[in-house]
């Protein structure tokens, strides 16, 4: 036996899960979604994904070098931020702007707070919110999916020179001679023209030339993989979708002529992507089991309220950011109930044995004495 003995405090064994495993798996699960996005929009989408992710990684590396950061590039979290941010902006978003918001996402969304785990807001959404403020026109300019030449030519606005106004895409869209859907998202169509897109097209993102993101059905499948491997809290997307559907349904009942049915609410815009991938960001969502229901429900509720009653067609981003801000408060009021605080004698679970033996014991008398 060696004389060198190490003394440690128990537990001496450790489960296999690690931050790297979680983050890596989120990246793997995002890859099919990214592939679908490229299938929809061609090389412009691919370039957006690459540029934004590279910009996030660059920023992450830079701030890690500067010091004071908790994680580093090996933890894969900046890759997730980049991919998610790229999926939330229009495919024809000028690449130089994508680079700027990717950098800002990491700088303001994560590095400012001290890095991985310390951020208050979802970094990808901080980047997108910055884009919304800095480039309001570009971030609202959508182009139709499945354009004929999408794998050989860029969307004209993509290749705008830095600090230059991007080329107008309307002439380019008109030249393609598509149907009426071109150029606007289904949400904007509904909000400003009160036209509803068919549910099946929204679910699969395939029919027509809708200006939509990757198919909600695919996102749900990828989310299911993560939930099954416990890398994602399934309760958050479920709560978000329930919150949105309920709110949407109530408003729909009040005025069916003016407001869309809950199915449209669920499938349109970025709700599913937000619910599955953004709201579930671990660092910015509550840890308490009851808290995640409140948090998810709040996101769903706010999304519908913003969509219906504000000037913006989409509300997922702001509702998640607001819920992120509310997370500490939600946690404070939803702390778990410690074991052993149930009232004496209250039975739960499936007990095998009666609390008292069959034989009469003088316990009832004692209980009475206590009272």
């Amino acid at each position: 036996m060696s004389s060198r003995l190490e003394i440690r405090s128990s537990p001496h064994i450790k489960g296999v899960s690690s931050v790297e495993t979680i983050m890596k798996n989120v990246v793997w699960s995002l890859l099919p979604i990214c592939a679908f996005y490229v299938f929809q929009y061609g090389i412009s989408a691919l370039a957006t994904l690459v540029v934004v992710t590279a910009s996030c990684l660059l920023a992450d590396r830079l701030f890690a070098r500067l010091g004071g950061q908790s994680g580093d590039i090996g933890d894969w979290s900046a890759t997730i931020t980049g991919l998610l941010l790229a999926l939330t902006i229009p495919p024809g978003f000028p690449l130089w702007m994508g680079f700027v918001i990717g950098f800002v996402a990491i700088a303001l969304g994560k590095a400012l707070f001290g890095g991985l785990g310390r951020n208050v807001f979802n970094p990808a959404l901080v980047g997108r919110a910055f884009g919304q403020a800095a480039f309001p026109t570009a971030i609202a300019t959508y182009t139709p999916s499945f354009m004929p030449g999408r794998f050989t030519e860029f969307i004209p606005s993509s290749l705008a020179m830095p600090f230059m106004t991007p080329a107008d895409t309307s002439a380019w869209i008109a030249a393609a001679k598509l149907d009426a859907w071109a150029g606007a998202t289904p949400l904007a169509k509904w909000k400003f023209e009160t036209v509803l897109a068919p549910a099946i097209d929204l679910l699969t993102s395939i029919g027509g030339n809708l200006a939509v993101g990757p198919a909600p059905i695919l996102i749900v499948l990828c989310g299911l993989y993560l939930a099954a491997r416990r890398f994602l809290d399934w309760r958050i997307p479920v709560a978000t979708l329930i919150g949105a559907a309920l709110t949407g349904y109530v408003v729909y009942l009040l005025n069916p002529a003016r407001y869309p049915d809950p199915v449209f609410v669920l499938l349109s815009g970025g709700l599913v992507l937000g619910a599955v991938y953004m709201a579930t960001d671990m660092a910015t969502s509550p840890v308490t089991p009851r808290g995640v229901w409140v948090y998810g429900g709040l996101i769903g509720f706010l999304t519908v309220i913003i969509r219906y009653f504000s000037g913006l067609p989409e509300g997922v981003m702001y509702s998640i950011l607001i819920a992120n801000a509310a997370t500490p408060l939600i946690e404070r009021v939803t702390q778990p109930r410690p074991f052993g605080t149930a009232s004496l004698g209250k039975r739960k679970g499936r007990a095998v044995y009666p609390l008292l033996p069959a034989e009469p014991v003088d316990v009832a008398g004692r209980e009475k004495d206590k009272k």
């Binding site: 060696s2 405090s9 128990s10 064994i13 489960g15 890095g115 410690p338 052993g340 605080t341 008292l356």
Partner: protein, 451 residues
């Protein structure tokens, strides 16, 4: 995952499933030879150390009283071997501090039969006399806590006990000593249960055993059948395998569906919980009137050549036991007990004591899972909240502990309920030493409460 727990029929919420690694479950208990010197510390239990009643140079026979109980919360010790007292001096203990110990030089030619016994008819004793007899055996909780058994069996005047819960869960990975005792000494166990029932006044007994030890369940059931003991008197129940099922509050939850109040004892429900190893030993020792001179210890680990459950004389040097079992030379951590809650031994020149249920020998390479992981800040994944059997919020407690803000941990976030099972540290993907920090925090709070 709650749905999975439901499908598995798990009774208490949360908890974890560490790899079980019960390498020695199928090997029968073997007797360890005597080392040339045995070291019996006067303090092997919770409570006051015993008082030596032998002198240096005195000859002792196996089973002879060598130290008597000093007061109520104390137990006597008996000579684990025939020989003579070589010294009474300070010796290192496994947990670090040096303890006053009786060193016995074993007489090589002795047959090592237990020479001192006072056989008695247990049937005529009243509860007080049984409890006094339990104290005379020097019995402590053999599950690892080493709390004097007679004190645990004594029911306060204003309380009444109707149920004896026997804990055969052994939920720690690697350990199998309770399992083997249940399989091989079911009759002793039942005998011990009957004495404990009379001592406490319990009218029924439920033995809870994790369902990864069905051979133990069957052995005890067969012994009960052979003695025609009805199930409403002594029942055996398999409970789902899940860590920490062996915590008494979790076991009572699984069997009876009630939460033992925070800060309270099972006595609140008229229950007393005792470990199977303790009761099996009592069932053997009480009628014969002998003292506790040996115990079953699991010696195991990934590279131990002859792992197994050994019947070890109390006071056997740990090094002797490890060499006999063929522990690898490159061991670098020896854990007293299981890997989840056991303490790391500070030295190998220390004796096996009454509360030592297992020796787990690990090499450096066996810890790569643990040691290669980088520590990140809390990413608030919530795994620890989903694992804590006591329903605490380890994530929040960990952040408070990191800031050394101990006061609210105790006053607002129920740190006092933590029994240090280690589930939070086990699941943490950021490898934060949560329970380790909580131990420090609890110690600081205890000191502040005293000051």
């Amino acid at each position: 995952m709650n749905l999975l727990s439901l499908l598995r029929g798990e009774a208490f919420k949360r908890g974890i499933h560490p790899p079980q690694n019960k390498l020695t479950a199928e090997r029968s208990i073997r007797r360890l030879p005597f080392a040339s010197r045995l070291v019996v510390p006067l303090s092997q239990h919770i409570g006051k150390p015993a008082r030596a009643v032998v002198r240096v140079g005195q000859e002792v026979v196996r089973g002879e009283l060598i130290a008597e109980a000093d007061g109520w919360l104390s137990v006597p010790h008996h000579a684990p071997a025939t020989g003579f007292v070589e010294a009474i001096e300070l010796r290192p203990s496994a947990k670090g501090p040096w303890e006053q110990s009786i060193v016995i030089k074993v007489q090589p030619g002795s047959t090592q039969e237990v020479q001192v016994a006072h056989p008695r008819d247990m049937g005529v004793l009243n509860p007080q006399e049984i409890i006094a007899a339990v104290q005379q055996t020097g019995m402590v909780g053999l599950g690892g806590a080493a709390f004097p058994s007679h004190a645990k069996m004594s029911v306060p005047k204003d309380a009444k006990v109707h149920t004896l819960v026997v804990n055969g869960c052994e939920c720690e990975p690697y350990l199998t000593c309770d399992h083997r005792v249940m399989v091989e000494h079911a009759d002793d166990l039942i005998e011990g249960i009957r004495h404990a029932m009379r001592a406490t006044g319990a009218v029924r007994t439920v033995i809870g055993i994790e369902d990864n030890k069905m051979s133990a369940v069957e052995a005890i059931q067969a012994a009960l059948m052979a003695r025609h003991i009805p199930a409403d008197q002594i029942a055996v129940q398999a409970v789902p395998t899940k860590y920490p099922q062996g915590a008494e509050k979790m076991l009572i939850m699984a069997l009876f569906g009630v939460e033992v109040p925070s800060g309270g004892l099972p006595l609140a429900y008229g229950m007393v919980v005792l470990n199977v190893g303790t009761l099996a030993a009592l069932g053997c020792l009480l009628p014969r009137g002998e003292g506790l001179v040996e115990r079953v210890v699991t010696v195991t680990g990934p590279a131990v050549q002859r792992p197994g459950d050994y019947r070890v004389p109390i006071g056997t040097p740990m090094k002797f036991l490890l060499d006999y079992a063929g522990a690898p030379a490159e061991s670098y951590q020896v854990i007293l007990g299981g890997p989840m809650m056991g303490q790391a031994a500070a030295s190998l020149d220390v004796p096996v004591t009454k509360g030592m249920s297992g020796l787990l020998v690990m090499r450096g390479a066996d810890f790569c899972d643990r040691d290669d992981q980088k520590i990140y800040p809390c990413i608030k994944c919530g795994e620890c909240v989903a694992a804590c059997p006591m329903g605490l919020n380890p994530s929040l407690l960990g952040m408070l502990a990191a800031m050394r803000d101990y006061e609210p941990m105790g006053s607002q976030y129920h740190l006092g309920d933590c029994f240090e099972c280690g589930s939070c540290s086990f699941v943490c993907p950021s490898s934060i030493p949560l329970v380790q920090q909580f131990r420090v925090a609890k110690q600081v709070l205890r000191e502040r409460a005293v000051a």
